[in-house]
Symmetry: C2
Subunit: 275 residues, 2 copies
């Protein structure tokens, strides 16, 4: 692992790191914020998964998480959203290929060689982070935005013992029922929709997956609300499964980091209480 | 004035606006954050001037000012750092031309036609903001970063009745005594250094300009500290003039927005107490 940059901020260190990933067969870049702590102390880690077009840098620059993460003693990990670089396939659309990994292990060409963001985020990067940073591996939570909210929900639902808390900003709750998800899952996983279910939070819940509880903040003025995000589907699935869901519909708020930063504190406190 | 974008955030509205400037003879873009307020209520406004290479967007995205600005009821105004666009002169260096207006009215060619950032920030934009936003024109403060810290200090020192409070992050305190300043003032104002003094905070103080007090936060690990920023010169000038200066040297902190965002709350409170 190579250090790209470190900056002192809000009583901690914001770092950016690069490593050769075996999951994606590319170099991968990620960000980790570590609050000051006692020597030998291990801190809970909260993982943030980003949305379409983003890298590790969007939430690092615009997420406004460092002040309260330091106060709460939370390490924040922000992976990239896909493999990148020369030799990595891409698509002209912003919603497929580089910047749009959808947190799946692709089985279809030309994506199958590099697009293994599920293995990367579920397995490879947590092992690296546990080795290189002062994290308490028993206390790990996950959240994310839009496509990253989808990633957070599905990863937590598949591995509730490993991720103790989950929340999301404006998540894609049912990729099998929206244009972004149908395009991405169809191209990465093929047209057999049974293979999509473990990458669809609502389908996972209907198939029996459970988490303790879920927090979602969703802008009421989000331009993707009705066609892509469809929080009502998550409300219904959680009701059927008796999963406590706190869904805050935020008047006037859109899909941007201006919304994410506004409710970041609430989400950090949600996770800190559970980790 | 044209609205480029508005986003709801932290209990207020972050807007970006564009207008045809008579000072610069170009279109100019600027950002204004307005916290929610009672109908008819006028709020104090705090102006943030940015550093080399920046636009209005850097502090808007990375400054982390909205949460506390809403709590304190402060409007935040962030102008661009220079005229821009086709037909506007530029320089290959990042420290001259577009993105590097230095808050002066240039008298030298090829800059004299458009580079009037002093008139723009001191006169034209305040008048427009007073007309278009719910500001109390009697309660106005100014701060900034690096080149923008220079702008804030010099504008406040020249107009202490109009700007009631002043602070800076890592300001250029004496452009006449550092490479950035000598290059910019020489090219914009000519080689007669007597014309530079009203654009040099330390020279202004030595020439009798006064403000009530000054707050400066400066990273101790700032790569520009010794060669360009030289806070000791401001310490000496303020001592000679009996201007109370609070200079916080921040261990481990560099010149970036990771530092600015860390101490943003302190600066907002400093201004709110004085406005």
């Amino acid at each position: 692992m190579e250090t790209v940059s470190t900056n002192r901020s809000h009583g901690g260190v914001q770092g950016v790191y690069r490593h050769a990933s075996s999951a994606t067969s590319t170099d991968m870049t990620f960000a980790v914020y570590v609050p000051d702590h006692d020597s030998g102390q291990k801190l809970p880690a909260l993982w943030y998964l980003s949305g379409l077009t983003c890298t590790h840098a969007n939430v690092m620059e615009k997420g406004e998480y460092r002040r309260l993460a330091s106060e709460l003693g939370l390490i924040i990990v922000a992976p990239d959203t896909s493999p990148r670089g020369e030799g990595v396939p891409d698509d002209p659309g912003y919603d497929l290929g580089q910047g749009a990994g959808f947190y799946v292990d692709a089985t279809q060409e030309p994506w199958a060689e590099h697009f293994h963001m599920r293995s990367y985020v579920e397995q490879e990067l947590p092992a690296l982070v546990a080795e290189q940073f002062p994290v308490d591996v028993q206390r790990r939570g996950i959240f994310g935005h839009s496509m990253g909210g989808h990633g957070a929900l599905t990863i937590a639902l598949r591995n509730p013992g490993e991720w103790k808390s989950v929340s999301a900003f404006a998540p894609i709750v049912a990729p099998g029922q929206c244009p972004w998800g149908k395009k991405a899952l169809g191209r990465y996983l093929g047209e057999d929709q049974s293979a999509w279910r473990e990458h669809d939070a609502c389908a996972l819940i209907d198939d029996g997956a459970r988490v303790t509880d879920i927090l979602v903040d969703q802008g009421a003025a989000d331009q993707f609300l009705g066609e892509q995000l469809k929080p009502d589907l998550l409300v219904d699935a959680c009701q059927r499964a008796s999963i406590p869901l706190t869904l805050n519909l935020r008047e006037g708020h859109d899909h941007s980091y201006f919304t994410i930063s506004t409710f970041m504190d609430d989400h950090l406190r949600w996770h800190a209480e559970r980790l």
